[in-house]
């Protein structure tokens, strides 16, 4: 539960940041906390691969900023994104959570084998990402939205039985490519705006 709280707070920090470099650092915190949530199937190799990809993605965005002040002011979009994300998370959890009939037990620090924490974190990241992406004016917040959505997706894919390491590697590559494409667009949009 503590990690879930960290995911929520750092997502809000990334969402509200006016400078791309702060956004990049906050995204790394989001991704790290999300990948450390233990649903009983956590493997060190997967955490390492996912954390490395998150670090690379954050570094790419950090470098793309080029200076400390560059970014996009979220303005009213911050509140819209937060309200929509909160409402959608609750709705998604109600509709899409497996109906196992088991009693849900969560604790503050230990692992959560019921998977509730992972599901809530995934739905929160997905809905925050969608809200940010849909209200973004340019590639700065667009990239953040895409990366948050992808992190949420990674959490859901973790719960699928099958070749975990291969899928983790694939999605980690995807995360790096999303960050690269996002950074490329940020640099190009900035060049077009400053011309």
């Amino acid at each position: 539960m503590l990690l879930l709280a960290i995911v929520a707070i750092t997502t809000l920090a990334a969402n509200s940041a006016r400078q791309l470099r702060y956004t990049a650092v906050a995204f790394f915190a989001v991704a790290l906390a999300a990948h450390l949530i233990d649903d009983g199937t956590l493997a060190a190799a997967q955490v390492l691969v996912s954390a490395a990809a998150a670090l690379v993605a954050s570094a790419i965005l950090f470098v793309a900023a080029r200076d400390r002040r560059f970014g996009e002011d979220p303005g009213w979009r911050l509140w819209i994104a937060t309200i929509v994300a909160a409402a959608t998370t609750a709705a998604a959890f109600a509709f899409l959570r497996p109906q196992t009939g088991d009693e849900i037990n969560t604790n503050l620090l230990g692992p959560d084998p019921s998977g509730v924490t992972t599901d809530v974190a995934a739905f929160w990241l997905l809905s925050s990402g969608i809200a940010i992406l849909l209200t973004a004016r340019g590639a700065v917040r667009g990239s953040l939205g895409a990366l948050l959505m992808l992190t949420g997706t990674q959490l859901l894919v973790q719960q699928v039985p099958g070749p975990h390491l291969a899928l983790t590697l694939l999605l980690s590559w995807l995360q790096v490519v999303v960050a690269l494409a996002g950074a490329f667009l940020i640099v190009n949009q900035r060049a077009a705006r400053e011309a």
Binding site: L133, P163, A166, A181
Partner: protein
């Protein structure tokens, strides 16, 4: 198979390193693509294996689609090398080739989807050029947003459906399948999710546009069909008619809307792009009928439309470049103009090209499904025909005193090669339709697992 994907990946890295030495990068790219095609053709049918526990299988459809799509990529690379040097295009084409192969041979739905997303994001680098003078950066950003949104939604829906037990309420599966269908509609630029395609059509280089509509869009369609088969969601679609209705509605809207927009377009690229959207709408209807002829027709339309789109978009790019600030005209590049016009035959599914059976099957099965649906598809085809005729008349409006073949007639040569391939396929349709029929069998078995 991993060796072929690795070969293409290494070649992409080499191509990126030497991308400004055109002769070297062109040779490396074409050699790697040719080697990949040769290995795929020589590989025994039904070869299989696994990579990091991810299983792969070379099916008949995978082999056919790999040859068609990698062949199309070869033609595109040749055109860019000779006529429109764009340094980033070569490594991009190689990565796309690797991704296309992975999508075609992997058998895990989530892995197919993940690989597809990689392929759809890679061309972002080829979409932007001279950002101070046009809106290519905005077009590329809109494409990025649509792919990220549709991609993550679709992947999440797939992951949830795979992790949920089959004893969940039907409404849960309906919701997940609807999300998956909408996610693919976003990536296929199906109407009403086509706004990014409209901007791409007018702002990005013709070669990058051909890479997207000629190679990646057909790959996306094949991935959609494969994922439906492999994810085990088909029985849920059959038992709940609403999803089938959604697919039919999307297909008919795209077919009619694409044809309508193509008819009203004055730009050659837009005519080609909206014709692709109209044809993909027909293909979606084919899949939605959940019948053998419908599935065969849908896959055939997707593959042939990709080839025709490549032919038309390269020709449109050449005609625009040669015309400068004036209107594209056959007087500047007669072979490219001819290539555009014959590409139109494939777009409308005219016999004797191999484009004909696909359209015929889908329209026939649509009529047997309901008369108004069949009529809608015939109207859509007529709309595309009118759009192609208008475009052809606009290109050939003025005739020079003496026809002279343009310098570097690569678009015309590519058009001729594509036309010859479609003609040979039309004369010998079994070679093209047999592998697709094998996939349709697999699709129908997945539909009724017992």
């Amino acid at each position: 198979m991993i060796e072929v994907v690795a070969l293409l990946g290494v070649a992409a890295l080499v191509a990126f390193g030497v991308r400004k030495r055109l002769a070297v990068v062109g040779t490396v790219t074409l050699a790697a693509l040719a080697a990949a095609i040769a290995i795929v053709v020589l590989m025994p049918m039904d070869a299989s294996g696994d990579v990091l526990e991810l299983p792969w299988h070379m099916s008949e459809l995978a082999r056919l689609a790999a040859v068609v799509l990698l062949g199309t990529l070869c033609l595109l690379v040749l055109a860019v090398w000779v006529d429109e040097p764009a340094y980033n295009f070569f490594p991009t084409a190689l990565v796309v080739a690797a991704v296309v192969l992975a999508v075609l041979v992997l058998t895990t739905p989530i892995a197919i989807y993940g690989a597809l997303l990689l392929g759809l994001l890679i061309p972002v680098g080829s979409f932007t050029f001279q950002v101070h003078r046009n809106r290519s950066a905005e077009a590329a950003y809109r494409h990025f947003s649509f792919v990220a949104l549709g991609g993550c939604l679709g992947l999440s829906a797939l992951a949830l459906s795979a992790s949920l037990g089959r004893d969940q309420p039907p409404s849960t599966f309906v919701l997940l399948v609807v999300i998956l269908v909408v996610a693919f509609a976003l990536k296929l630029a199906a109407i009403p999710f086509h706004t990014h395609a409209a901007l791409l059509a007018s702002e990005v280089p013709a070669s990058a546009l051909a890479l997207y509509f000629g190679v990646l869009v057909p790959t996306t369609f094949i991935a959609f069909a494969q994922i439906l088969v492999l994810s085990g969601l088909l029985p849920a679609i059959v038992s709940i008619g609403k999803v089938q209705d959604l697919l039919l509605a999307l297909g008919i809207t795209s077919a009619l809307g694409g044809a309508f927009l193509a008819t009203g377009s004055t730009e050659l690229r837009r005519v080609a792009v909206y014709s692709v959207i109209a044809n993909l709408g027909q293909a979606l209807v084919g899949i939605a009928t959940l019948s053998g002829p419908g599935i065969i027709g849908a896959m055939a339309i997707a593959l042939v439309t990709g080839m025709a789109a490549t032919q038309q978009l390269l020709a449109a790019g050449t005609l625009e470049r040669r015309a400068g600030v004036g209107r594209p005209s056959a007087t500047n590049a007669p072979l490219a103009a001819l290539a555009f016009v014959v590409g139109g035959f494939a777009m409308i599914g005219a016999p004797p090209l191999v484009a004909f059976p696909g359209h015929f099957f889908v329209e026939l099965i649509a009529y047997s499904y309901s008369a108004w649906m069949g009529t809608a598809l015939v109207i859509a085809t007529l709309g595309v025909l009118v759009a192609q005729l208008r475009a052809a008349m606009a290109i050939f409006r003025t005739a020079p005193d003496r026809w002279r073949v343009e310098r570097k007639p690569i678009a015309g040569i590519v058009g001729g090669l594509v036309f010859a391939a479609l003609l040979i396929g039309g004369v010998q349709p079994d070679g093209f339709l047999q592998p697709i029929a094998a996939f349709a069998d697999q699709f129908l078995r997945a539909l009724h697992p017992l």
